[in-house]
Symmetry: C2
Amino acid sequence: MDAHRTLEFWFDFGSNYSYLAMLRVEALAAQRDVRVVLKPFLLGPIFKSFGWESSPFVLQAKKGAYTWRDMERQCAKYGLPWNKPSVFPRRALLPMRVAIAAEGQPWLGQFCRRIMHANFVDDREIDDAATVTEVLAALQLAPDAWITLAQEDATKAALRAQSTKAAARGIFGAPTFFVGDEMFWGNDRLEDALEYARGRRRFAPIAPAPD
Amino acid sequence: MDAHRTLEFWFDFGSNYSYLAMLRVEALAAQRDVRVVLKPFLLGPIFKSFGWESSPFVLQAKKGAYTWRDMERQCAKYGLPWNKPSVFPRRALLPMRVAIAAEGQPWLGQFCRRIMHANFVDDREIDDAATVTEVLAALQLAPDAWITLAQEDATKAALRAQSTKAAARGIFGAPTFFVGDEMFWGNDRLEDALEYARGRRRFAPIAPAPD
């Protein structure tokens, strides 16, 4: 598989549109022979750098109201389960740290999908050790070892560094996909990003002026 | 054609994602036997009501930079011509007033596509009488009569009223589509809105928990 056929998927477990992409990405990528690299990062510091104290879906009432209806419809379209979280956006430091500590592990995709499910279907606090422990245990992993690793200074620093890198690469929201340096923002661009990754989307004929 | 099979398309000639939808909507709707009702409204007062002095693509530098690259890619995908306007967002009061005065005219779609083309392909000032005159003349219409009508107090009031109604209906950006009271935001939701209009998108099976 050549290096170009790689999709970086930058996400935050608190982001609802990241939930849609997380539940869809691996199957769609596999169909296209594209490799997925999961890149957890903290969206909060990016929003803070814009002067926002929370998600735009909280700060902008009309956009927020629309977003929850949009999520119902999008989940129905994709056949995904959905329950509006009672807390939004949820803190997710602990599972984010586990995810960055587990970079390259074959079970990372499963772990991420289950954490997303806990937030956006089961309406659970995903920053609690109990939730993360349960998800790790269900995957036949050693929860205590992974949670200990997640809380080491080096892991915390790695997540901070990843978030700084996200900002430096121009990320302003989540999910964001990269294919090389080409950036795609939002679950709505997932298919475009994958087509780009496999070299099927470069140029299209330009139409004449409208009638 | 039953009343449900109608898509309201709310747009501003200054909005780049409205350009994509304007150039696509009538052909896609015709394929699905859905009627399109064009609803020009002013996006500026809505942004001002949020405390924004311009488009988020101007106010948020990173999102703005991304948007122009996204427009290049989206236009390539759809086979639409594109040149980044040298002025953004462009004032469009005069053509908006013509559009609202021309509600129900059979040439309104053509007029709107050509004004969009002037802005997003030819990089012309669309609020100038010269541009609007040229577009109307090319459609074999009487430019002076339509421009006079556009500048009457009743037309100005109709555009203001339409913009107030947009805000009251929860619109926070453009393009926005309505099918009855169901609202869809953004060119990316055009196909969903059309499928909804023809009754093909109501529910989908809910998937089991992730693996």
